[in-house]
Symmetry: C2
């Protein structure tokens, strides 16, 4: 199966200004990885129509699907729906099913803020599931999720079967040597195994190890061969443990 | 003084794949805010030359300055220098001062990995200060910082006086009502105080409050007037506390 590519667009002045510590991107990165989706880009942009439209358009054209986080509530700064509509050059319309849901909730006379929640980009479809009665709005390859972490996580979890493909296999090597001393071994390993995804992550002030190496592939035999080849290349005295 | 705008470009497959939980963006967002810099965009992109070049070029043209995080070490996946050089259409050259530093460290015969650390985009300048002997490389309005959190934080802290302008003033109101019930008050407040930056952040499963409202301005009198105006507009029984 072909790997699917994905981008995450986080809409939120509160994150850019450091008032809120975003956790949705880390959650999404791990969950998507686990189901074999390649997250290729994360963008955090302000609550501004043009910025949303430009970034969503860019991502929707380049990646198989796009997940947005935030800006779908009833307040003045919730303009994700309008931004996504602008990205696609479509109008914002009232969805009859959402309108019915809101009338059920607010009674027959919902206020202006409530009715805002019934707006969708023209051509949107609704996806049931997850922690709210309120469905996820999808239009083309764009899925609009709420920014509140509990809701974002629940909605993304509910969408996972729709996104899943084949997963990566991963091995890790922890070394006591710095990157300078092992860089040549890494280069040699990649020359022999060019399709290996090889990561090198130094940790400072850690008594346990200095560099964590991660090896990844969708082919478990290829990964195994590369893993043992690299173990041979590295100076034996620097290897602390493997996973 | 004019507000300065900034973008943060994080280079790292390890963050996109969820292997490392990025903390640099949250640190930078708070620190920049505190010195009056408007962080307008965060992009997390893979260790790929074209992706780095495109994103850095985009940001360098639109914002007053750009900070990159990651990809400046000695290993195969450290290609930020090459990416930034490509963004500006310049070659990568060896910086004599960095070369001297590295020869001091590795002896007269530094290995290939060590010499990689002496590479800079043509026209770069070096900025001393922070937690390493190794200086920060700057070219045009782009500052290239290491991705390891302790180093990133130290380097950014050392650069702060260079970026500082005038700060924002902030007030906060915590309410027991949901966004639906207070949205009209927020709209009315913004109509009277259009220059107010007004944020609304619902918290779920929190016994203390339901929505935190933040009011911001660089003009403390304007902020004070807007704050008291909004307090009058909100139903008295929903206000839990103010800051």
């Amino acid at each position: 199966m072909q790997e699917r590519s994905c981008a995450l667009v986080v809409i939120g002045n509160e994150i850019l200004s450091g008032k809120i510590h975003d956790t949705n991107t880390y959650f999404a990165a791990r969950e998507l990885r686990a189901i074999g989706v390649a997250l290729k880009r994360i963008a955090v942009i302000p609550d501004e129509l043009d910025a949303i439209a430009e970034e969503v358009r860019y991502c929707a054209q380049r990646f198989e699907f796009v997940i947005t986080s935030g800006g779908v509530g009833p307040t003045h700064d919730d303009i994700t729906i309008a931004g996504v509509a602008a990205a696609l050059g479509r109008p914002v319309v009232i969805d009859p099913q959402l309108e019915a849901l809101i009338r059920e909730h607010f009674g027959d006379q919902p206020n202006k803020a409530g009715m805002k929640m019934a707006e969708v980009p023209q051509g949107a479809v609704l996806i049931e599931g997850g922690p709210m009665i309120f469905p996820t709005v999808q239009v083309e390859n764009i899925y609009m999720l709420p920014g509140i972490p509990q809701l974002f996580e629940g909605k993304l979890t509910a969408l996972k079967p729709r996104f899943a493909t084949d997963p990566y296999f991963v091995r890790a090597i922890y070394t006591s040597a710095g990157e300078g001393r092992i860089a040549a071994s890494l280069d040699a390993c990649l020359e022999r195994f060019p399709k290996l995804l090889l990561g090198s992550y130094p940790k400072i002030g850690n008594a346990e190890y200095r560099v964590k190496l991660t090896l990844e592939s969708k082919d478990s035999d290829y990964l195994d061969s590369a893993f043992h080849y690299l173990l041979e290349l590295l100076p034996a005295d620097v290897i602390i443990k493997t996973e």
